[in-house]
């Protein structure tokens, strides 16, 4: 059970060491920036004492100006260094998480997350929380540096007053700590209430036709109103508590100044506590109040970071939580040309054998003990009712599901890591609902593999995309997606088919092409694919005659198991026509 863990502090420390020089320079700038007001206080003390004594203040005021100029320069220098460090750190973390999610098998592959909605908050918020936590350490270091120096000076001026005025600061710190948990709970409740509202709006407008025809506008608005009321309450609660914590530190300053006046009144009349000393205390107190505030923030942010880091570690391999903060060199120059991926040498059609392959979902469903032979260059069609496990079987074969059961033999040899093995040029996959990306058509189909234009056009032709392709003004450079040409469902399906074909793989796995294609287009697609003598071994899901008739074997799945295997005629002769449906 003892799996390695990554704490928020360890993660922050690892991050600090990613670019140690930059980090050290930035850190020293900001610590000096925080500490310099010690000198400002001393100068103001001198100014007021000299004013009270009727002496010249020009030199003191000049020094004051110089110190301020230095602080301004430090701030500029800090930002110049720090922003680059900050965004680079965020990129490192996001890249590490993305690497774990996108790796095809191997030690780097993390458990796939279901639904990008939840994961995106990890990439957006949790990553930022960790960097912010580390950043907060610098402010705490700076305010602590200031506090130590300032308190030493104040103790020398008047020990009694100093000891009393730090009491409100300690109280403020204690309250900050005590409220940190509640603050966090309120913030979380508010975020959840927000997600309920936005999630509902999204679903509502996706279903706008059904809602309108059902006349469900009023009922839906009533539902929105209920979620809105809850969210209004969580938002007010969150905001007021946060403001109260801020106000607390503000009132500490006033309280402390009041105490200074109270305690120093006697000494002031006697002249032991000068107006300069008063100026010193009044200048130092707001800066001192920053320490409990930052310390409180550090505690809150540490908790955020802990939660964030634990969520981040769920995206990387369980055995290697340190992958979250692994140091990797980043190619962040946006103007550097991207090196295209070399095209891997193609392989002959594969001979694939499944032995007891399966996958069981946590709920119990899945596919079980599937034995199947896919001879080189054969065309196998999977069919069966919804929920019979067609997609699951394909994904189990490709190693896209963990844990995977059974073994897969590739040209007679057992495959140790399916996910790593079943990629181009060995296997290529078209998902049931394929995803394309907001990029050019060429980028989407070729995924960075260097391919001559002519070859790319040929792949698009085989995927029955050629007519659509001719209509695109910029050819392969046409942007697709929300910021470019919006493709129809069928076009997405065929472009994604082209993407799978571009892999030039020895095994082609296609999940349910037919759902978005009309029968004619599907027929064209199959003929172009299968009429090529050297076509790869194919395993496809389909219910259409166009595919079933050409199948070397049809695998009929039912409830996660193979019910029958055979050609269309064989199955028909056994009364198992996959094209017919049982009478109800």
């Amino acid at each position: 059970m003892s799996r390695p863990e990554l704490t928020g502090r360890a993660a922050a420390w690892a991050l600090a060491r990613y670019a140690p020089k930059v980090f050290a320079i930035g850190a020293s700038f900001i610590v000096v920036w925080w500490t310099l007001p010690v000198v400002l206080g001393l100068l103001l003390q001198r100014v007021f004492d000299r004013i009270a004594d009727g002496q010249d203040v020009a030199s003191a005021l000049t020094s004051l100006t110089v110190v301020e100029l230095v602080r301004m320069a430090l701030l500029y220098a800090f930002i110049a260094v720090w922003v680059r460090w900050w965004v680079t750190a965020l990129t490192l973390l996001r890249g590490n998480l993305l690497r774990a999610q996108l790796a095809s098998g191997g030690d780097e592959a993390g458990p796939p997350v279901s639904g990008s909605g939840a994961a995106i908050t990890v990439f957006r918020n949790d990553v930022e929380d960790l960097v912010l936590y580390l950043d907060t350490w610098l402010d705490v270091a700076g305010t602590t540096g200031f506090a130590v120096a300032a308190l030493a000076i104040m103790l020398r001026v008047d020990a009694r007053v100093t000891l009393v005025v730090i009491v409100p600061l300690l109280v403020a710190f204690a309250v900050n700590v005590a409220l940190a948990d509640r603050l966090r709970a309120y913030r979380r409740a508010d975020r959840e209430a927000t997600a309920v509202v936005t999630g509902f709006l999204g679903a509502l407008f996706s279903a706008v036709l059904a809602v309108k025809v059902a006349g469900a506008e009023r009922a839906s608005l009533a539902r929105l109103h209920r979620s809105n009321v809850v969210r209004g309450q969580t938002a007010v609660r969150d905001r007021v508590l946060a403001e109260s914590v801020e106000a607390l530190s503000g009132s500490t300053v006033d309280l402390s100044i009041g105490l200074v006046l109270l305690l120093a009144s006697g000494a002031m009349r006697s002249g032991a506590f000068t107006v300069g000393d008063l100026a010193l205390f009044i200048t130092y107190l707001p800066w001192l109040a920053a320490l409990p505030r930052w310390a409180g923030r550090l505690l809150t942010r540490q908790r955020h970071a802990e939660v964030g880091v634990s969520r981040m570690t769920q995206l990387v391999p369980p055995a290697a939580p340190g992958d979250v903060v692994a140091h990797r060199s980043l190619r962040l120059d946006p103007h550097a040309p991207t090196a295209p991926r070399a095209r891997p040498a193609s392989e002959a059609p594969a001979d694939v054998r499944l032995r007891a392959v399966g996958h069981t979902y946590p709920g119990g469903g899945g596919v079980h003990a599937i034995d199947l032979q896919l001879p080189p260059g054969s065309f196998t069609v999977l069919c069966g009712p919804v929920g019979s496990g067609k997609t699951t079987l394909l994904q189990a074969l490709l190693g896209l599901l963990t844990p995977s059961e059974g073994t897969v033999e590739w040209n007679g040899r057992a495959v140790p890591d399916r996910a790593a093995h079943m990629v181009p040029p060995r296997a290529a996959y078209l998902a049931q609902v394929p995803r394309l990306f907001s990029a050019t058509l060429g980028e989407n189909v070729l995924l960075g593999v260097e391919t001559p234009e002519q070859e790319a056009a040929e792949v698009l032709h085989r995927a029955a995309f050629e007519t659509d392709f001719r209509r695109l003004n910029d050819g392969l450079a046409t942007m697709i997606g929300p910021r470019g040409v919006r493709l129809s469902g069928g076009q997405v399906q065929r472009a994604a088919t082209a993407r799978a074909l571009a892999g030039d793989a020895a095994l082609l796995v296609l999940d349910d092409l037919s759902s978005a294609l009309d029968a004619h287009t599907e027929r064209t697609l199959w003929s172009r694919l299968l009429d090529d003598r050297r076509h790869p071994t194919c395993l496809v899901v389909s219910h259409r005659a166009a595919a079933l008739e050409r199948a070397d074997q049809i695998v009929l799945l039912e409830a996660g198991r193979v019910r029958a295997v055979g050609t269309l005629d064989e199955l028909r002769s056994r009364g198992l026509d996959p094209l017919a449906t049982p009478a109800t």
Partner: protein, 604 residues
């Protein structure tokens, strides 16, 4: 500037219902703004009293008052925040609901051109920006301005020349800050855009993670992520380098102000125009000025963002409503006859951003004159773009014909009473959206149809979902996404349940079974056979096999009816267009002529 004016009008509109709360807020705000002004006065009194060797009691009194006022000031600040946040959320929640209601009333062509994500951004994102604008800008900046003006007046009371100089100084500081902010705004926007691109890329890659893993394209995706992040680094550095000048300017002004004020104080003290306590007071007011100037600099950016948000919100609210449901005529009970009386339809001249397929002015439907008898099933066939979906929308009154009239159950739909129309006419769509809500809410659409649990159970059983329902942990109260996931087939059946829960007299089926496997399709077909009894149905078929059940077939082409007649008669007439289409589809699917029709749905 115009955008800002829109913004203020919208804000005023929103706040009217909360007048009394706003007045209370004003009081708290005045207190929070004025209380910090007292501090320096007390400091002067203290220093001068100490110098005059006043009694200890007087000094103690001043000290106590100082602490008490400090607490009161912070209390007023918290009260202000509470009041402002409450008002802001109530007002903007009302705005969210109004915008949502309006968006729901818009034409489907608007929704076809606007993604749900964009609408969330409009309805929630922009409303939140407005709420923040109110709580952060209006309230805080109002308080800050109050403090600023007060401090300058009080300095002016001590010495009018110093007061005038300080006022000039503050105005110059604000002007410069605003200039610097203006310069920083486009850089800030570029930074946010670069960040949005990074997150958009990450989101797409996560969404397509399985595809990328299966295609071994992870490394390539990572290099794309680094490239896009590189742009973000550059944009962030540029933006922050510009933005930091605002803070440097504030620091500089503050330092300069301190030095100038102390010099002026020394000078006046030497001439014995003021006391030492007054020098402390003047110094104190410089400190008081700092926070307001910082705050105003901080919040100026918000104005632009909120103004843009308000502008977008205004445009959404001004988007013309498609259909105004103000008819009075109730639809009769039982199966409904549909009579299309020389119906024509074309999209009017709308702006460019409404859909690419909706070409303004081009007639989508021309002179459709049909009667679909009550209780019959009519299949609408034709190539895509022939006007099938538009015709169906007219029957559902999701749009009104531009010429002619649509009568359902003898009632012109434009005169039909809205509730009765929505209860008597239903649709089953290809894609059924399942809400993260209970099974009950999903079927009744949040209670839009009143139905007791027994009705719901009976209907779900009719659709063959009883075994599924029995397995759910919370029965009808199980929540989709939490307790239960819906497959494509189940979603389709859920769509049927939604449609038939309300006992419709006319049902439009948008080729309901195209996405499901033969077994589920058979389940759907069997349920339809039972449920369609005694109702009129219109089946929009993208594939001809879907009109198997139709009594009558209407063939559309280029927005015109080119054929209309009994299905069997048309199918048997080799010269008919329908028969030609059937032959074409047979050739395409390659089904041998002798084989049974695909799929052979048993009629019960």
């Amino acid at each position: 500037m115009r955008a800002t004016a829109t913004h203020w009008r919208l804000l005023a509109e929103l706040l009217v219902p909360h007048r009394s709360a706003v007045i209370m807020l004003g009081v708290a705000l005045a207190a929070a703004g004025a209380l910090p002004l007292v501090g320096p006065q007390l400091l002067r009194a203290f220093v001068d009293a100490a110098a005059a060797e006043a009694t200890g009691g007087r000094l103690l009194g001043i000290a106590g008052l100082y602490a008490a006022l400090g607490l009161a000031a912070q209390g007023a600040l918290v009260a202000t925040t509470w009041g402002a946040t409450r008002v802001a959320w109530r007002a903007t929640n009302a705005l969210r609901e109004r915008a949502c209601e309006h968006a729901l009333s818009l034409d489907l062509s608007y929704h076809a051109a606007t993604s749900p994500g964009a609408l969330i951004e409009r309805i929630d994102g922009d409303a939140t920006a407005i709420a923040q604008f109110f709580t952060d800008f209006v309230v805080r900046v109002a308080g800050a301005v109050l403090t600023l003006v007060g401090a300058l007046l009080l300095v002016g009371v001590e010495d009018w020349r110093v007061g005038a100089a300080a006022t000039f100084f503050v105005l110059a500081a604000l002007a410069l800050t605003v200039r610097l902010r203006d310069r920083a705004v486009p850089e800030g926007m570029a930074e946010r855009a670069a960040f949005a691109r990074v997150m958009g890329l990450v989101e797409e890659y996560l969404d397509g993670a399985q595809d990328l893993r299966a295609l071994g394209a992870g490394e390539h995706a990572l290099s794309q992520h680094e490239r896009v992040s590189g742009h973000h680094v550059e944009a962030a550095v540029r933006a922050e380098r510009t933005a930091i000048w605002i803070w440097i300017a504030v620091m500089g002004f503050f330092a300069l102000g301190t030095v100038l004020m102390l010099s002026a104080g020394t000078l006046l003290l030497r001439r014995e125009a003021i006391t030492l306590g007054t020098v402390v007071l003047l110094f104190g007011y410089v400190q008081v000025l700092r926070r307001p100037i910082e705050l105003i600099a901080e919040q100026l950016q918000q104005v632009q963002r909120a103004a843009a948000g308000a502008g977008r919100m205004r445009r959404l609210l001004d988007e013309p409503v498609g259909i105004v449901p103000d008819g009075r005529d109730e639809l009769p009970s039982g199966a409904l006859e549909v009579a299309l009386d020389h119906v024509g339809f074309s999209y009017d001249d709308r702006d460019d951003d409404t859909g690419t397929d909706a070409v303004a002015g081009r007639p989508v439907l021309t002179d459709i004159d049909l009667v679909l008898p009550a209780g019959q099933v009519t299949g609408l066939v034709g190539p895509s773009g022939s006007g099938k979906s538009t015709l169906a929308r007219l029957m559902l009154r999701l749009a009104d014909p531009t010429s002619g009239a649509v009568h359902v159950g003898g009632v012109d739909l434009r005169l039909a009473e809205h509730d009765s129309l929505r209860h008597r006419v239903a649709v089953v769509t290809q894609d059924v959206q399942v809400f993260r809500a209970t099974v009950r809410e999903n079927v009744t659409l949040f209670g839009a149809v009143e139905a007791d649990d027994d009705d719901l159970r009976a209907l779900l059983a009719e659709l063959g979902l009883n075994a599924w329902l029995a397995r759910l942990p919370q029965g009808l109260d199980s929540v989709f996404g939490t307790d239960v996931a819906a497959s494509a087939g189940q979603a389709q059946l859920l769509g049927l349940a939604r449609a038939f829960l309300r006992d419709p007299g006319l049902v439009v089926l948008d080729e309901a079974s195209s996405r499901v496997d033969p077994v589920t399709a058979a389940l759907v077909e069997a349920a339809l056979n039972r449920l369609l009894k005694g109702r009129t149905a219109v089946v929009i078929a993208h594939r001809l096999q879907a009109v198997e059940r139709a009594d009558t077939v209407v063939v559309l082409e280029n927005g015109r009816v080119i054929e209309h007649g009994p299905r069997t008669a048309l199918a048997d007439d080799a010269a008919s267009r329908f028969a030609a289409l059937l032959r074409a589809e047979l050739a395409a699917t390659g089904r041998p002529e002798a084989a049974p029709a695909e799929p052979t749905y048993a009629r019960v």
